[in-house]
Amino acid sequence: MKIKGSAAYWMIFPTLLIISIVAFFPLFKTFYDSFFSFSLRPGIERRFVGLENYKNLLRDVRFVNALKNTIFFTVVSVSIETVLGLIIALIVHQKFTLRGIVRAAMLVPWAIPTAISSQMWRWMFHDQFGIMTRLWERIGIITPGTPILGRPGLAMWAIIFVDVWKTTPFMALLILAGLQVIPEDIYEAAKIDGANSIQRFFKITLPLVTPTIAVALIFRTLDALRVFDVVYIMTRGAVNTETLAVYNRHVLMDRAFTGAWFGYGSAISVFIFMLIMIFAIIYIKSLKLRLD
């Protein structure tokens, strides 16, 4: 039986309505707010300022700095996560005893809420009784007494370390799903033709798993560009680790009722949104993804 066109529209209408309310409305509201100067204090006049907020962004030293930190964090953490995720996925794709348990255990870091795991890591990086501090001292990365989260430069690497620990499993899981849909017979045919394992990896596995990696990359990059909890809990943006979202918390919350910063904060939010979009487009174009 074929449902008529109009009936189909009516059926997806509730879904569209809900998405509009929870996703599109806040998005457009933020976009709209970013052209105004106002605060949440009652009685404050809402003034249209056009693109003023956006112009000010680039003159704001703290914003530019946060932007640099965010991009650095994203590029480094997502690269490491992708490579590690691919390696782990290839390993757990093999058949070995207890594979099921290993696959489940692998997901633990990702299953712990970030707010909790970040706090846990903050303690492990404590200069006096932190186990990671002792370990890094042993390996020779730091001299004894160095406060990892209190050193410019080092603190950002600690944050990246935690993010890699937390989200590599997610990357591995997505890539594993991609590996599982590659049919076995292609490998068998390659073997008969005399391709060795390295050739099989670069000629078969990698090209066929690339679309999955691209999707995983987009997911991770999206998350990394708006990173907040790891940074906020571990350093609160101190020693040059402030990211865009952490700076935006300050603008939107500490200045909510004073001055007229809410439009400016909205502009930062829109900027983060645009940044994510640019990254997504770069991925899609460079990896020649087909969205259909």
């Binding site: 949440l40 204090r41 009652p42 009685g43 903050r122 990086f125 404590h126 200069d127 006096q128 009784f129 007494g145 160095t146 406060p147 989260l149 209190g150 050193r151 410019p152 350093t235 609160r236 943006g237 101190a238 020693v239 040059n240 918390r249 300050h250 919350m253 500490d254 200045r255 909510a256 009722f257 004073t258 001055g259």
Partner: protein, 410 residues
């Protein structure tokens, strides 16, 4: 019998019909929440027609602040009674019920003057002081005695000398405090600033932090870490609990912290139980000493209904009464805001330092009282932390604070 039953039913109906339900926010640090629930049981006996629901809040003051911003911005009618940090009065004043006319009802003349200052915005009372806090110096009595010191240090220089000698001989840390980039850093910094004779803003609202005293004070903090080496570099990541855990493990001679630490340091499983003394923070070179005033107040949500506001007033009066403040002080170690409570022998027995150090609590200084305090605090945090991590000199940091505060408060 049937008549009686009907009467009871009608009375219950009336009681339910006329009963008011109000909500209040509260922190849950240590035994705080448990104690509040006990107090509310007593309140229920006095006012059976008022039902109080408690909304527990996160431990961090910043997160509580952000939660309130969300409530107020949305014009929420709940919660009715709000637990407010002393630094928020001016910022949240537009959303709080004006309690100026209830000055006598709440017996505010019985309260410590510093706490009343913290709830006064442009001459109006916007909240009632619930409990008060001040920065204190904790020290190891046993270690000081062992090295021949009869008294805790009187001046910062004495503290440096004692800490150096004892920490080197014992192989432990000299002095821990709060140096992470957060509100607690501002509290610590202000204590040095004031005791060195500096100030952030004068009575006329002018920014006066750009002074040699301020530079010296900040330089002294930096020197504690890198020159005198009595404070570990890691202090730049410490909040209250980080410092307390180091001190409680017996790994430090001195600690700057709030009164709450006392009960924990003397709990049964504490390695330093009975070995800890509490003193006022030392004098600066100008012969001045200072403790930052902390503490929490109770305010009423302006958006609440008239009945809810009336009930809220009764609840606040009850919670800030002499008996209840004493109960809270004894059971959860939070300092009373009423002067008379400090003369009570029961308090002296439960928390002797509260009574002995009354002058510290009376003289504790409030942080700058301005509506954009959160922003001002952020500026101080940013640059003081940059100096402590040697990203800039003390002088550059103070210059930057002055420049940004001038811009902020103009």
């Amino acid at each position: 019998m049937k008549k009686l039953a009907t009467l009871l039913l009608v009375l219950t109906a009336i009681a339910v019909g006329f009963s008011v339900k109000i909500t209040m926010t509260s922190g849950g640090v240590g035994k705080e929440l448990e104690v509040l629930r006990e107090q509310l049981k007593m309140f229920k006996q006095l006012y059976p027609d008022i039902e109080v629901e408690v909304i527990p809040m996160p431990d961090s003051a910043t997160e509580r602040h952000d939660l309130y911003v969300t409530y107020f911005a949305a014009g929420e009618k709940d919660p009715d009674v709000l637990m407010l940090d002393v630094i928020w009065s001016a910022e949240f004043a537009p959303f709080l019920e004006d309690l100026t006319d209830d000055y006598d009802y709440f017996e505010l003349k019985e309260f410590l003057p510093g706490t009343i200052m913290s709830v006064t915005v442009n001459g109006r009372i916007v909240a009632i002081p619930w409990f008060t806090d001040a920065g204190l110096l904790y020290y190891r009595k046993d270690l000081l005695e062992k090295y021949g010191y009869k008294n805790p240090p009187r001046t910062w220089d004495e503290l440096v000398e004692m800490a150096k000698k004892i920490s080197q001989a014992e192989g432990i840390i000299g002095f821990v405090w709060q140096g992470a980039r957060y509100e607690g850093l501002v509290c610590n910094f202000l204590e040095y600033l004031w005791s060195f004779g500096g100030e952030v803003i004068d009575e006329k609202g002018k920014v006066v932090i750009d002074s040699s005293q301020a530079v010296q004070a900040l330089q002294f903090m930096v020197d504690l870490i890198y020159k005198h080496r009595i404070t570990p570099e890691g202090v730049v990541t410490y909040m209250e609990e980080d410092a307390r855990r180091v001190f409680q493990k017996g790994e430090a001679v001195f600690m700057r912290n709030w009164p709450y630490a006392w009960a924990l340091l003397n709990s049964d499983d504490s390695p330093v139980k009975g070995k800890v003394g509490v003193a006022p923070l030392p004098l600066g070179p100008g012969g001045r000493r200072a403790a930052t005033l902390g503490g929490w107040n109770l305010g009423i949500n302006k958006f609440s209904s008239k009945e809810e506001k009336e009930a809220a007033k009764k609840l606040i009066k009850f919670l800030t009464s002499y008996e209840q403040q004493l109960y809270k002080a004894i059971h959860s170690g939070q300092n009373p805001t009423r002067k008379a409570a400090y003369d009570d022998p029961k308090l002296k027995e439960a928390a002797p330092f509260m009574v002995e150090l009354l002058s510290v609590f009376v003289n504790a200084l409030p942080r700058p009282r301005t509506a954009n305090y959160s922003e001002l605090s952020d500026v101080i945090q940013k640059y003081v932390h940059a100096a402590l991590t040697r990203q800039m000199t003390a002088e550059q940091a103070i210059k930057n604070i002055a420049r940004e505060l001038n811009f902020l408060l103009k």
